[in-house]
């Protein structure tokens, strides 16, 4: 009897092990198949191709997200650190991106070529890479600012970087599609440089936020103009 029992137990355990292994194989194969499908290049068959419209939508969504972040940070700064608004002393604000020629009106923007517009966007985004990083550093050091804002500053720096990558992809796509010429220069380093002033950190930060808020709005607007000019399916 005992032997019989042992035999049955062994059989059962073997069966269960085999079953488990089969299940694992099945699942793993599924996963790998999914994984295999995730990496997709244009030439591969069965790939889901992202259209330019989709790309534009993603990029614009990303930019909108950045803008909302900036608004929040700016309002927080204004609320806690600079109660007096519209001070005469702050008129002399000089954003470091003021050297970049950007269209300041609808006609100007619409009369600008697509390539130029794309280039302006990329320039702006690149110009903010370093200052935002520095801003995050200063945020981390100022313990009077809450952690949430400090994290947001870091996030913003990352997001701007990603947005720039995204816009680059869009421009690539457009070039590929022949919508724009290949005259866009690849920018490696920002044209403008920011001096790290040590005096009046808070003021500098606030000005920085103000400038960035404006520039993010510019980027958003230019992207929308581009989109409505190139792929006006909906939203225009």
């Amino acid at each position: 009897m005992k032997e019989l029992k042992e035999k049955t137990i062994n059989h059962l355990s073997a069966l269960s092990i085999v079953w488990v292994v089969l299940v694992c194989i099945l699942f793993c194969s599924r996963l790998t198949s999914v994984g295999a499908a995730s990496i997709c290049t244009n030439s591969q068959a069965g790939c889901h191709v992202i259209t330019l419209a989709n790309l534009f939508d993603r990029v614009i969504q990303h930019s909108a997200k950045i803008q909302s972040f900036t608004n929040y940070l700016h309002s927080e700064f204004e609320q806690y650190f600079l109660p007096g608004k519209n001070q005469i002393g702050r008129v002399s604000r000089n954003c470091h991106t003021s050297t970049i020629l950007t269209p300041n009106g609808k006609e100007n923007a619409q009369s600008m070529a697509r390539e130029e517009l794309t280039e302006v966007i990329l320039k702006l985004l690149l110009a903010w890479r370093d200052p935002l990083w520095q801003f995050h550093q200063s945020m981390a050091h100022h313990h009077d600012f809450n952690n949430f804002s400090s994290n947001k500053a870091l996030e913003m720096s990352d997001m701007v970087h990603e947005l720039r990558k995204g816009v680059e992809k869009v421009s690539e796509k457009m070039q590929k599609l022949g919508i724009i010429s290949n005259s866009i220069r690849r920018l490696a380093s920002p044209e403008t440089s920011v001096q790290n002033d040590s005096e009046q950190h808070l003021m500098k930060d606030y000005d920085l936020l103000y400038c960035f808020r404006r520039d993010s709005n510019k980027v958003q607007n230019y992207l929308m103009i581009l989109k409505c000019r190139i792929v006006p399916e909906y939203g225009c």
Binding site: V91, R93, N104, G105, K106, C228, G235, C236
Partner: protein, 620 residues
């Protein structure tokens, strides 16, 4: 010379004449820039609020300078936007550029500058409300819905992507006050569901750029939803039918279980139980036998006995004889309404619903029960009478204890049980006393247990002189209560009175005389309230009984009291009976006659007069 004179005069006039009139000129007050708005992010307008003009004509000028430029410009257009405004056209407007604007008020005496204002046009955009709002009812599906569509304000250029607008809709029924808000995002079309059939709706829409202010609400568009009640009707019909079906089932179930429910909600009230009470004997109204069975060996209970047993409700028949069992069984069979009662010798088990107690045949059956009980009780009492030396004394004292009682008495057990002093009773007297007691008890049977009737003890012999005014006051008190409430529907109120009185009596303790041994009849009320058993002689006996002095020729009871006639008590009897015996057939006359008849018996009996007589049967 004249010229200079004229000039000085003129100058004087100019300067002092106003002073002479009483007015003062001053430089203008400080103007304030109230707001700047751009409807389409291409032009913008600024408005200001002038200060006091100082009594002189004042002119206003707006100056601005752009960001990072020191050049000061003046407002290009003061007219287009109206009074106290400055309009910047497309050529003068730069987006993403900081403007620093100041307004200057100038009059003859001076000028004043307003506070400067920094604006960036992109943050002051307030578009016009959306245009061409259309609302239609879509009835493709069974439940109609509203489709709302609109167009952006024509000035705002959304087509080129220059401005991105988000929209918001609000809906309400015409008669309501609260609006229902819906955020529509960037789409220009929206569906509204869950409409009221036949309702009139108002719809409005507004818009806002991603950075800026909400526009005004568009003019309301009205729409009437058609009636689609017929669709709902079928559903309601189904619901009604279904619920009716369920209701029917429930009623049927309820009907099936009606009896058990009845017993659950209105449990039968247990009737009084008396040890050894024989219902059947009492039914037959055979006096001698009735009370013989009632005599219990250990009655009256000794001090060590449990007081709670003495309560009518608590009494159990502990020595059921065969006869009693048979008779109780018969009784139960005969009583049609007594369902579910167990047959045993306990006389109280025959009771049914409390409601039937007074009105139904069961009431009669109960009477018989009571008779039986009383019979057995009477026999018990008989046996014990010899042993009660000095009881009368006790009672007398008890009576004196409570002179100011003003209510009825509590009868916690039938008068028969009250310990009697050692009266040498003739057998005949006994008989009559028992009969009287029976009658008395019959009266009780028609009340809920514990009702008050007044009892008058009648210690015949030596106690006469001892019993004094206390008795009289008892009865007077009870009489008063009767007169006051002659038409009490039930006797419970009397009982309530007596409850109070009992307790009051209890408080007024009189140290019992030496050799008093009437603790058996201590106040039940006190015991049941969880207090220590206060040895209080008196109570029920003292209150319940008044000594009957005698019966006069007119068959009137003469109750013992100092210097007063017993006629009043007689009246008391009658009135009490009236109040308590409504269901049975009694007239005052009858009662009196009954009482009189009883009165004859009373003297010979062991001295207890029952004032509440209900048994209308003539007593042999």
């Amino acid at each position: 010379m004249r010229k200079s004179l004229g000039m000085t005069l003129l100058w004087f006039v100019l300067v002092f004449a106003p002073r002479a009139e009483g007015t003062r000129y001053s430089p203008p007050g400080k103007p304030t820039l109230t707001r700047c708005r751009s409807p389409e992010k291409e032009t913008f307008t600024c408005w200001w609020e002038p200060g006091s003009d100082g009594g002189l004509p004042t002119t206003y000028a707006l100056y601005y300078c752009k960001e990072n430029s020191d050049a000061v410009h003046e407002c290009p257009d003061y007219q287009t936007a109206g009074e106290n405004s400055c309009f910047f056209n497309k050529n003068d407007t730069s987006i993403w550029v900081n403007y620093n604007i100041t307004v200057v008020a100038t009059n003859a005496l001076g000028s004043s500058f307003s506070d400067p204002v920094d604006i960036d046009v992109v943050y002051i955009v307030e578009p016009n409300p959306p245009e061409r709002l259309t609302v239609t009812v879509m009835e493709d599906t069974s439940w109609p819905f509203l489709r709302v569509s609109w167009e952006p304000p024509h000035k705002a250029d959304t087509r080129s992507g220059w401005i991105t607008l988000i929209y918001e809709i609000r809906v309400k029924l015409e008669q309501e006050t609260e609006w229902e808000m819906h955020l529509a995002g960037q789409q220009k079309m929206f569906n509204i569901f869950s409409l009221r059939s036949g309702g009139k709706y108002l719809v409005q829409v507004r818009c806002k750029p991603d950075q800026g202010f909400w526009s005004e609400w568009s003019p309301a568009s009205q729409i009437k939803v058609p009636e689609y009640f017929h669709q709902e009707k079928s559903v309601w019909l189904l619901v009604t039918v279904f619920s009716a079906f369920i209701f029917l089932i429930l009623t049927w179930l309820l009907h099936l279980n009606s009896r058990s429910l009845k017993h659950f909600i209105l449990p039968p009230v247990p009737g009084p139980k008396i040890k050894g009470f024989d219902n059947q004997l009492l039914k037959n109204c055979k006096s001698g036998e009735v009370f013989s069975t009632l005599v219990v060996s250990d009655f009256p209970p000794t001090a060590s006995s449990n007081y709670e047993d003495l309560l009518v409700e608590y009494l159990e028949v502990y020595v059921p004889t065969e006869q009693e069992q048979l008779e109780s069984k018969k009784l139960h069979n005969g009583c049609l309404k007594c369902e579910g009662s167990t047959s045993d010798s306990d006389s109280g088990r025959g009771s049914c619903d409390s409601r039937t107690l007074l009105l139904d045949k069961c009431g009669e059956a109960k009477e018989d029960e009571r008779q039986k009980d009383q019979r057995s009780a009477g026999t018990d009492a008989e046996r014990q009478q010899q042993g009660w030396e000095g009881e009368a004394m006790a009672y007398a004292h008890e009576d004196m204890v409570s002179p100011d009682i003003s209510g009825g008495r509590v009868k916690t057990w039938p008068s028969v049980f009250s310990p009697l002093p050692q009266f040498s009773l003739h057998p005949q007297e006994q008989q009559s006393s028992l009969e009287m007691a029976k009658q008395h008890y019959l009266s009780d049977s028609l009340f809920p247990p514990g009702s008050t009737t007044s009892y008058f003890t009648q210690p015949v012999h030596s106690i006469k002189e001892v019993l004094g005014p206390s008795y009289w006051e008892f009865s007077s008190g009870s009489k008063q209560s009767d007169l006051l409430h002659p038409h009490m529907p039930s006797c419970r109120q009397l009982q309530a009175h007596s409850d109070v009185n009992i307790s009051r009596i209890g408080r007024k303790e009189v140290p019992p005389p030496a050799g008093l041994q009437s603790t058996e009849y201590a106040d039940i009320q006190r015991v049941t309230q969880g207090e220590t058993v206060l040895v209080q002689p008196k109570m029920p006996q003292g209150e319940d009984y008044s000594k009957v002095k005698g019966v006069d020729r007119d068959n009137m009871l003469l109750l013992q009291r100092e210097g007063m006639e017993s006629d009043e008590q007689q009246e008391t009897n009658g009135s009490k009976e009236d109040s308590c015996t409504s269901p049975t057939v009694t007239t005052t006359k009858k009662i009196h006659s009954a009482t009189r008849i009883r009165g004859e018996m009373l003297l010979a009996a062991n001295g207890y007069v029952d004032t509440a007589t209900i048994c209308s049967q003539p007593i042999q």
